[in-house]
Amino acid sequence: MSDATHTGSNSTEFIQHSYLALVRRRRTYGGLTLAIFVLLMVSGFMIADDRNAGGFWSGWHQVLDFPKDVFSEAWEKRAELPASLAKYFPSLIETINIAVASTLIGALFGLVLSLLSTRGLARWPRAIPLFRRLMDILRAIPEIVVALVLIFVLGGGPIPAMIAIALHTAGALGKMFSEVAENSDLKPVDGLRSTGATWAQSMMLGVLPQVAPNFLSYALLRFEINIRASAILGFVGAGGIGAELSRAMAWGPGRFDEAAAIFLLLFGTIVFFDQVSSRYRNKLTEG
């Protein structure tokens, strides 16, 4: 008896020791990681500072000069603000239109891609890696690169921006959708397949109803992101409010009041859609 308890406490001690050793090791690793991280940050920053023609330290106080100019000019001409807002509202609509269209098209492609690359659901199980890599590529290439290439080929306008954002969206949403679809219940799908339904029919009736709330919520989130992307692409010639902003700013002092109006429009839009979509997303994931 006493023997048994003795060995028992012995082994407890052993476990305590080895666990503490494990904890110490983990802490060392954690500390090391942190040190490496800080080192990389500092060295990266120094390299960036060296390469930067003006130098970060000498130039950073000028960062505030630009908003100050814009602000003061906008304040002087504040009476014209409503007129400017009205003037640029149509181009805001264009920007939002690009975001809506590209989110819809991208989500549709993302949906198909995600189903094709989810184990258990895929139409051609052997092609899963192919569709996964395709989504990786779509996701990896920044919208602005695709947009620039397309603008070079097709000329400026909203279509290149739409295609660029839609492609990126397909990759990004496809990955998220696929993670949701992976957790879906396969029983209804099996049931539908057993009746002789086609793949499209089984997906539509067996999978979509299960994943729709999550998919919609992700798509709304993506829509918020795409409004920003669509505004930014305006700068490189895709039209919409971004183009107007770049024009107003390039003009320099004299049209800063219009730039301020555009900023206000953009800011208001983004806040508005953030609010709306977060409310809907909460509803979707709760209900």
Binding site: K187, G191, L192, T195, G196, M204
Partner: protein, 270 residues
Amino acid sequence: MLKIDALTKSFGQKVAVDNVTFDVDKPMMIGIIGRSGAGKSTLLRIMNRMDNATSGSITFGNVDVTGATGAVKRQWQSRCAMIFQQFNLVPRMDVVSNVLHGTLNRRSTLATMFNLYPQDEIHKAIEILGRLGIAEHAPKRADALSGGQQQRVAIARALMQDPEIILADEPIASLDPMNAQVVMDALRRIHEEDGRMVIANLHTLDTARRYCDRVIGMRDGQVVFDGAPELLTTDAARDIYGAGADFSEEATSTQIETLDQAGSLELLSA
């Protein structure tokens, strides 16, 4: 009529269905028994073509359906309906929609997308539900029903396919004894009244004895018994279940035993 010849299915090294051969010359009710892992589910899934056989063949009438693909395969699946242990309905959809899924084989994808089912098929679906005694649940969501009711919806979906064969993979294994009897009675009636062939995987010996015209016993993927239920002696059962001398039939029949204690068909006829 239905001819299974040397059907084999391997998962890597594991041979789940091993050289299974049997022949069914007229519609009857067949029970497949065997312990867990014997390959019963795999056999049914291959017959419905949800899984592909490694070798061997399935012939129905004069048609070899073993290698059918695309529309031909789906055509076969619609003639050979399947019922699952977990019902496998679409839980968020209403009962009638679930029954109408039995007609998907005849529907285009576009019609499916817009939920366009002809009125006479909707009527037919509700008639079938009536036949199975659950018409009053027609508008409810499938997941609002009890297990026994859901299984009857699954049977209704199968009937909506108007199949020649109904494959049932442990249709009563997740049901309480009362519902189990209702479901088995329904399957038996479908066989007798409509003349459809029913092949059911069953966990319990006495269910097979009570309802089936023929029993096939499987062990480690192979058919080790094939004959009338009367021939299913305790020795034969011992062989199928691979049990030692301590084998007792009660070990395979908890469900129906409690059913017999509860006592009755009267309880269930309602």
